[in-house]
Point group: C2
Chain length 138, copies 2
Amino acid sequence: MAQISAERGAAWLARGGLRPTRQRVALAELLVGDGENRHVTAEGLYAACLDSGERVSLATVYNTLRAFCEAGLMQEVVVDGHRSYFDTRMDDHPHFYWEDRGELTDAPVDQLLIANLPLAPEGTEVSRVDVVIRLRRI
Amino acid sequence: MAQISAERGAAWLARGGLRPTRQRVALAELLVGDGENRHVTAEGLYAACLDSGERVSLATVYNTLRAFCEAGLMQEVVVDGHRSYFDTRMDDHPHFYWEDRGELTDAPVDQLLIANLPLAPEGTEVSRVDVVIRLRRI
DNA sequence: CTATGTGCAAATCTTTTGCAGGCTA
DNA sequence: TAGCCTGCAAAAGATTTGCACATAG
């Protein structure tokens, strides 16, 4: 089981052409070990990593998340001016942002429909459409 | 003319219940003086203010933008993890984010259609739906 | 062996805050 | 006058970087 997920992490790294160092495998493991999508902040992943018993520096977590994004394994989602979120799911999909907890989750995409997206102006193309549904507790 | 727009800025401040201090009037002037919508960053507004010959501190620009938002005169839009944009237009509308220039503009809203928005989960309500269309130069 | 990756601490950058003095109502 | 504002500088966070050491291929 741990075996299976460790392989998952390594395969994921390989897919991005990244060397499987101890730190990267540990982080990859936490991110995709169980096949679920994750939305993490650098601090959050760092804490989870320490909790799991691995020794990794915060700077490495930042650098590694950045490397994962550049390798096309994750994408950065901006919803809060003073914190970056990193998402393991790569397709264009809407998010729920829980304002009270500062948490980001996937929104059920099956229902959302965006039609008549404005045309990209001359000389440009749409690189991504971010949809963030901000939720307030009632 | 300067007269007219100065009045516009003052009226705008009054609408938010804010005292018309020299600094606020100067900033309001730059933001809504000509009746157009603006998308600014604190640094950008600060520079524009200095250019116009007014003396205002950067801290005051930050505090003032924050005050304008709290007064319901502007809204903060997050598109870039390390910079906040402030928009004078208050309704829910989509934005174009020009990745190369780091600039934010309104996207033509007349065509956009968002249907079947996912329902807000139990105990929450939708506070806002942010749609950012990221543009890449080709 | 060589190129990459990592850790640590220091540096950067944006934004906020404390406090003394200034200005609006 | 009383309370809200402003300016400055220092503080606070988040993220990046420089550099010496470690390690994958």
